[in-house]
């Protein structure tokens, strides 16, 4: 079993501190007999263990490679949506309505009212209603993958959603400082503080929302186990506000 790779600044620093700590500890305990120097050796050893523990959480894939993969995937999705001339807003579906993970349904035609969506097959083009025009694209978004990173499915409360979003954005992905969520009837207001992932403008963004809004919508859909759509997305100084609507009764 491989515990960690040495190709990591935390691990390298930790190993260097172990060597330094042992040398200081042994020289002090055996030769100099100075208490504070012995304590310094112990201190270095403790720091080295903490650094090695933290080093295990650093991803092996460089951020540049992740950005490359993300831009490729988002570029292909944007090209598909723009080429088909889709103007409707995506509906984020929970995993109970898709095959295994939350996905976004992009209806090809605008609907005055959304039909009741039943479990959809694992295909790109799906028929989600009884009418001939009820056809849409079922696509994987950033939110689909992000939900899998959570340890547990969030409870259908604003507090639980806020906690999960903060854990994801701040602790896991490092793309924002914190979030706050408020709920009024079927409307959720998500405020993302100090976002570090900008939303681009374009038809695909209008349809699917920005990456952070997409993740928030996917998590909300999974928490409430109901379809969710992004009503609005505003970029304010130091904050991004996303208005979500939970569809259905």
């Amino acid at each position: 079993m491989r515990l960690f790779t040495v190709n990591n600044a935390y691990i390298r620093s930790g190993l260097a501190l172990i060597v330094a700590g042992i040398l200081v500890l042994l020289s002090s305990a055996l030769i100099f007999q100075i208490t504070w120097l012995t304590a310094l050796g112990i201190c270095l050893l403790i720091l080295s263990f903490i650094l090695i523990a933290l080093g295990r959480s650093v991803p092996e894939l460089p951020p540049e490679a992740c950005a490359l993969l993300m831009e490729t995937g988002m570029g292909n999705t944007a090209a598909l949506i723009e080429e088909l001339g889709i103007r409707t807003k995506a509906i984020y579906l929970p995993s109970s309505l898709t095959s295994d993970r939350p996905q976004a349904l992009v209806p090809l035609h605008d609907q005055p009212s959304w039909p009741s969506i039943r479990s959809l097959p694992r295909r790109l083009v799906v028929k989600y209603g009884s009418q001939p025009d009820d056809i849409g694209l079922l696509i994987t978004t950033a939110g689909s993958a992000a939900v899998a990173m959570l340890e547990a499915r969030p409870a259908p409360t604003p507090v639980a959603l806020e906690s999960s979003l903060t854990a994801l954005f701040s602790g896991r992905l490092g793309v924002a400082d914190s979030t706050s969520v408020s709920c009024q009837n079927n409307h959720l207001s998500v405020e993302i503080h100090r976002p570090r992932l900008a939303s681009e403008t374009g038809w695909s963004q209008h349809c699917l929302g920005g990456p952070l809004a997409s993740i928030a919508a996917a998590l909300a859909a999974e928490a409430w186990d109901r379809p969710v759509t992004i009503l609005r997305e505003d970029s304010l100084p130091g904050m991004q506000r996303v208005e979500l609507e939970i569809i259905g009764s």
Binding site: T35, A39, C43, I46, I50, R56, A167
Partner: protein, 70 residues
Amino acid sequence: MLLFATVVMAAAGQNALGVYYTVYLVLALAVTELFVTLNAKARQGLNLVSLGLFAGFLIVIGLQVIRILS
């Protein structure tokens, strides 16, 4: 913080190694609990470190008890 604590205690003339270790343990537990509670992998690794440090603390207490009794 640990290094700063070492400097402060050394300047104060502290000579008991057990005191140094106890302060390190408290600082390490506090800092790791405050700053790294969100990443599951980091938390798992730091829990192991905390467990090791606590085992060391028990040894320090055991040595003190033996010293007092003897």
